[in-house]
Amino acid sequence: MTVDTTVTLAGVALKNPLMTASGTSGHGLELAPFFDLSILGAFVTKGVSMAPRAGNPPPRLQETPAGLLNAIGLENPGVEAFCAAALPGLATLGIPVVVNCFGEDPERTVAAVEALSRETAVTALELNVSCPNVKAGGIAFGTDPAVLRPLVEACRRATAKPLWVKLSPNVTSIVAMADAALQGGADALTCVNTLLGCDIDVKRRRFLPSPGRGGLSGPATLPVALLKVAEVHRAFPQAPIIGVGGIRRGEDALKYLLAGATAVQIGTAILVEPTAPVRILNELVELCEALGITRPADVIGAAHPGQS
């Protein structure tokens, strides 16, 4: 049995549903020594903003049970340096290049979207409105529908490229946020960013990571992220969803498809194992074969009653 892994995500054809997750795969070709990046459905870059950002002081990382807290603080070289240094390399991969971007306020967010939209090497933009690490930044946009919608509208006006909005899980109702993003003109929803959490160094009596809290990712978070995908899909069955959170195995990826995602992103698993996407893709194909799924695209949302 051959498995046809292609999916179409809001007009973008992907040879398979696996992408890197923003922030866990570098800005450019840092992963290239480990595997052939062109096997990916798409490459998603670390978040970039108009101006460069130095990020947070260490410690930026804290391991937790089956999870990782990070407070990188959105360190990035800025749009200009990114386009000059990283983008040309990514363009050679021959796969869709998705640039994750953000701004400290609506103006700078729109400016980043505009600047990146001028680059032909950029296939789509993923708007990070949910990063919990920058106090002045993402958190406000991503947790209030009344703030999110106009922001997405402004970005929508600023770009003709596919616009994905990456939602925060740290809300009472992700459906309300998804609604705001879709109303604002988002082409697809990435569900979800990291959960807010913290740890404590009991010897030094200090919160970790350094800002006192961070974003939790990794296998520990899969059940929470998977439910968010399911909720958004149930509310908006037509909205293309990119599922992300804790994927380490092919089976995990398939769970996201069954919950309603058209594609998935792999984040922390890459930090644990740089070649994770290769293994996960193989496992996904084998699992589909074992389960008689000839096209993963056919089972999107199939775990919902009445959809399989």
Binding site: G23, T24, S25, G26, E30, L31, P33, F34, K46, A54, G55, N56, P57, P58, P59, R60, L61, Q62, E63, P65, A66, G67, L68, N70, I72, E75, G218, P219, A220, R248, T268, I270, L271, V272, E273, P274, T275
Partner: protein
Amino acid sequence: METDKSYELCRVRERAAPGGGLVSITVETTAPVAAPGQFAMLRGPWGDAPLLPRAISYRGAGPGWARFLFRTGGPGTDRLARLVPGDEVAVAGPLGNAFPPAKRPWLVAGGVGLPPLAFYQRRFGGTLFWGVPTASAAAGLAEKSWRLASDDGSLGVRGTVVDLVAASLGELVNDAMAPDAIMTCGPYPMMAALARLSAAREIPCFVSLEGKMACGIGVCCGCAHPATAGVYVHVCEKGPVFPAHEVVL
């Protein structure tokens, strides 16, 4: 000195637990041969927790093999310590840069900072100083030529390895014997003291930083360390070895 990185499942060929909580494992590898100062990210087949691989410096390496020496005590190193010959362990490496070449380097190790410097000495020579809390922490690993210090005097001279280095510098009969570089790996206060000592004598000093790492391969920006120039350096990408004056210790 930088080599190609790779990620592979390696078979454990040898394991030794000399004591003092130290464990050494030797693995079979097809990766390029590592240089002293470089490190690898190691992880065994233990499921989802602990999640992250552990950064461990090469203690030795040759065509087809690599050796690591680490101190147990946390969830990751404890599990690595349970690997036995025949087991598989995932190794991403060699990663990072290496200690630079020098003619008469002094190699100053504190505790489990030993591996990269012992590796350096084995390959390129130099004078190795090793400081440990007590003889038992050294687990009989000290070689004859090494100059040793321990807090309680149970191994080598009593005192810190910084004291020993300072005294040794003072005893030098002529400049031709003076080190042309000091390379160090160990606790930050120790490395900071050595950096001051070296700066005072205008001897280039290179430190190997230990920062918490997630990926070790430059994709997560997690291992930022403050640089004297203002912003941050990523230890796994630009380091772990830095000229002492470039980083805040």
